[in-house]
């Protein structure tokens, strides 16, 4: 063993012997409480984000998993009540996204709209009088869902479109969602709001829902 090793060993031992720090259990408990609080905050944030991400992944997977030509469209997972608000919000966002998802069939779109009577003709009119691609270029994103009771929610959403024949840009609108038949659906008025914006056409005609005509 070299001299330097002995010198270092002795030096460290002497230094360590001078350390007179004492444990402080109260301080440790306080630190653990703060740490638990931070940990809970992060965990809650992650679970919220994870739920949203899961819905986005499911929607994306459903869209890209085609069977026989027509892209499959996600059906929202049923929510039992609004008490699980985070899940409900994710389902509502998924419903809005699905209804205005490129490649969705009309039946798939209307299945997620509450009271869809007469709306097929609106879609047909949009295709006839507006740009053929109007419905394919509009996108809807849910910004906020505020629940008024267990089966109703007020929705703030954003419409974006790249179709210059109708409008190109971003529009902020409000609408609603309702829990019927075991799943969250767009209110008829919400659907019509989007269709009206997408249906602002050139020529001299505009597309309106039957009950929303001026």
């Amino acid at each position: 063993m070299s001299d330097i090793e002995d010198v270092v060993r002795e030096h460290l031992a002497v230094r360590a012997a001078h350390v007179d720090l004492t444990s402080d259990r109260a301080d440790l408990d306080s630190r653990m409480t703060r740490s638990n609080r931070r940990h809970d905050t992060v965990r809650n944030g992650l679970s919220l984000g994870g739920a949203a991400l899961a819905v986005v992944l499911v929607v994306g997977l459903a869209y890209f998993t085609t069977s026989g030509g027509s892209p499959s469209v996600r059906t929202p997972v049923q929510a039992t009540s609004v008490t699980d608000r985070n899940v409900a919000r994710a389902e509502i966002a998924g419903a809005y996204m699905t209804v205005f998802q490129p490649g969705a069939t009309d039946a798939q779109r209307l299945a997620l709209v509450d009271d869809p009577r007469g709306l097929q003709s609106v879609i047909n009119a949009l295709r006839k009088y507006a740009s053929q691609s109007a419905l394919e270029t509009v996108r809807v994103h849910v910004d906020r869902a505020t629940f008024s009771d267990a089966t109703h929610a007020a929705i703030a959403f954003t419409i974006t479109s790249t179709n210059s024949a109708s409008f190109a840009g971003v529009m902020h609108k409000t609408g609603g969602a309702v829990f019927v038949d075991g799943k969250w659906k767009l209110t008829r008025a919400s659907f019509c709001t989007v269709m009206a914006e997408a249906g602002k056409v050139t020529h001299d005609k505009r597309v309106y829902c039957p009950d929303a005509a001026p």
């Binding site: 070299s2 001299d3 330097i4 090793e5 010198v7 270092v8 060993r9 002795e10 030096h11 460290l12 031992a13 002497v14 230094r15 360590a16 012997a17 350390v19 720090l21 004492t22 444990s23 402080d24 259990r25 301080d27 440790l28 630190r31 653990m32 740490s35 940990h39």
Partner: protein
């Protein structure tokens, strides 16, 4: 002053001491002095050492159910926290050079000064080897490197210290 005998906590630590609040409290009271000394030797500061050790126990408590060997795990946490402390101090010195006179209390002699100038992992290897009496394999586990790397860290660290002690 006679050098204090090297700590051998594993000899008295029951391997099953890994569950329950009472076990954690017992480990805290028993291991705190040793970890405090380790942290002081690694940081050069009593104040920061206390902070490092307390935070290390918080982290251990969070992982208590998963820790196979709580004492060894705690030692690793303390060393890692000390390394993080040096990184933060280094960054702070770059941003605020006027504040570089941090709480380094061991600058009273040339060996302490030389130890403080070693890279954090070199210093950790030296302290674990010559104060804690750890084997190269144990140090390698703490530093998460190969035993050969530990040998290199110790060798180079000693070489730097030798330049100060045996100029």
């Amino acid at each position: 002053m006679d050098p204090e005998p090297r700590p051998d906590p594993d000899a008295e630590r029951p391997d099953t001491a890994r569950s329950g609040r009472a076990d954690f409290a017992e480990l805290y009271e028993r291991a705190y002095p040793e970890m405090a000394r380790l942290a002081v030797l690694l940081t050069g500061s009593r104040e920061n050492a206390h902070d490092v050790v307390q935070e290390s126990f918080v982290r251990l408590h969070r992982a208590w159910d998963r820790a196979e060997n709580p004492h060894a795990y705690l030692r690793r946490i303390v060393v890692n926290e000390c390394t993080s402390y040096h990184r933060r101090a280094f960054r702070q010195r770059r941003v605020q050079p006027l504040l570089r006179a941090e709480n380094v209390e061991f600058a009273a002699d040339e060996i302490s000064d030389a130890l403080a100038r070693l890279a954090p992992r070199q210093r950790a290897a030296i302290v674990l080897r010559y104060w804690h009496g750890c084997s190269e394999a144990e140090i390698a586990e703490v530093l998460r490197c190969r035993p050969g790397t530990v040998g290199s860290l110790v060798h180079r660290g000693l070489a730097e210290l030798r330049q100060v002690i045996e100029p």
